[in-house]
Amino acid sequence: MTQSGTEEPLADSRNVPALLSALRDRARSCTVLVTGTPGGSIHVRDGLVVAMETPGAPGIEGLLLRSGRISEEAWSAVRASDTTHEHLAAELVARGLVGAGELEVISLGALFDAAFALSLAVPDSWEVADPVPALHRNAGVTPERLLDEVSRRINLLAGEPGSVAALARTRVRSVSAAGLPGTAAGLPARHQEVLAHADGRGTARDIAFALGRGLFAVMMDLRHLLDRGLVQPHLPSAENRPSTAARGAPSAPLAGASAAPRSVPLPRREPGRNSAPELRPHD
C-alpha cells in the first residue's frame, strides 16, 4: 500500500473505504488511484465520490456509446470542443445529445457499478493524487452510501460465500434448449439480449461492455437465466484446452509407451540472417 499527494498523509487508510471516509472528513478533492485487477480511479470532490473508472465495468462513455444513445461522431465533437475535459457533461446536455436527468442517471449508475466491480477483488495498492477531470453529472455520493449499496448488491447475488466474484469470472453460454421456439418468448427483451451474447466466450463483464449495460445489471440477469436453466457455466472441453505437456522430447521413453518421434531441433536464428524465411513446402 502506498500513499502520495501534496497534503499530509491520511492516517486512517487501512483499506479503500477507510481512505474514502478520511477524505470525506477532510472534504478533500483528489483522485484515488487503485492498482490491482481490475484497479481503477476514484474521483473525489469536496469529500464526496463523483465518479469511478475501472476496466471492470463500463463507464459513462461506454454506456453512452455502446447503448447507441449518442454516436461516435457526436462524442468526438464534444471532446474536441472541451480539450480540458472539465465540462464534458455540460456540453453533452447543452448540445441536446442527452437530457440532464438522463445523464445524471447514467452517471450515478456507472459510479455505483464501478464501485461494485472494484469490490470483487482485493486491490494491490492505492495512492492519493491530485484531482483530474472526470466525466460526471451528480452531486457526489458519501462513502457510507457507496458501501451500503455495494453490500446490498453482493447480498442480492450471493448464493454462497465467494459466489459473486466467481459468477463475475464465469464464462457462460446458453443451453441448446434456450434456442427452441417459445422457450425465451416470455423473457423480457434485456434477458433475450443477454442470452444472445452468452456464447461461452465472454464473462458478465464482456456482455456488459458489448451491450452498454452495467456489470451488476447483467449479473442479475445472468443469475435469473442460470436459475431458469437457460444458460450454464462454460467449461472448456479437454481437447480444446491448451496443452500443458512438456515441450521437449523426453530423455528416455517411458516403459510401455510408444517410441518418441525423432527429435528435430527448433530452427535457430543466426547473426546476419535477418531476412524473410525461405518458403516451406506447405506455404
Binding site: A100, F112, R137, M220
Partner: protein
C-alpha cells in the same frame, strides 16, 4: 440541487402526492427521492414479481404500472421505458387528498419531464 431532485420536488407539488422516488428497475438503485418514500423501498422487488408472474401467466407486453392500495394510501409504481434498462417512478398517494386517476395523470405528466 441535482436535476433529478428538482424534478422529484415538482412531483410533490401535485395534491395528495406525499413522496416520490426514482429507482433502477433492474438493479434497484435509488437515483433520487423526495418526501415520504418509506413505502417505496421494495417497489423494485414488487414490480419484478408482477412482471415475472404475469409473463408466466401468459400476459404479453411490458409492465407499465403497479398500484398497491392500503386503507390510507396508494403506492403507485410507473415503469419508465428508455434506451437502456427501465426506471421506476414510485409515489406515495394519500387516498383522502386525491383519487387514483388524478394521481396517475399527474405522475405520467411529471415522468415525461424527469429525464429531460
Amino acid at each position: 440541487m441535482s436535476s433529478l431532485d428538482t424534478a422529484l420536488d415538482r412531483v410533490l407539488t401535485a395534491p395528495g402526492i406525499s413522496g416520490a422516488m426514482l429507482l433502477d428497475a433492474v438493479t434497484g438503485l435509488t437515483y433520487a427521492e423526495s418526501g415520504e418514500v418509506s413505502g417505496g423501498r421494495d417497489s423494485c422487488e414488487i414490480a419484478e414479481i408482477a412482471r415475472t408472474r404475469l409473463n408466466r401467466a401468459g400476459a404479453s407486453g411490458e409492465l407499465e404500472s403497479v398500484v398497491v392500495t392500503t386503507s390510507t394510501r396508494h403506492l403507485v409504481t410507473l415503469q419508465l421505458a428508455r434506451r437502456g434498462d427501465p426506471l421506476l417512478l414510485c409515489a406515495t398517494v394519500d387516498r383522502e387528498r386525491t383519487n387514483l386517476t388524478w394521481a396517475l395523470r399527474e405522475l405520467h405528466r411529471h415522468a415525461d419531464e424527469l429525464l429531460a
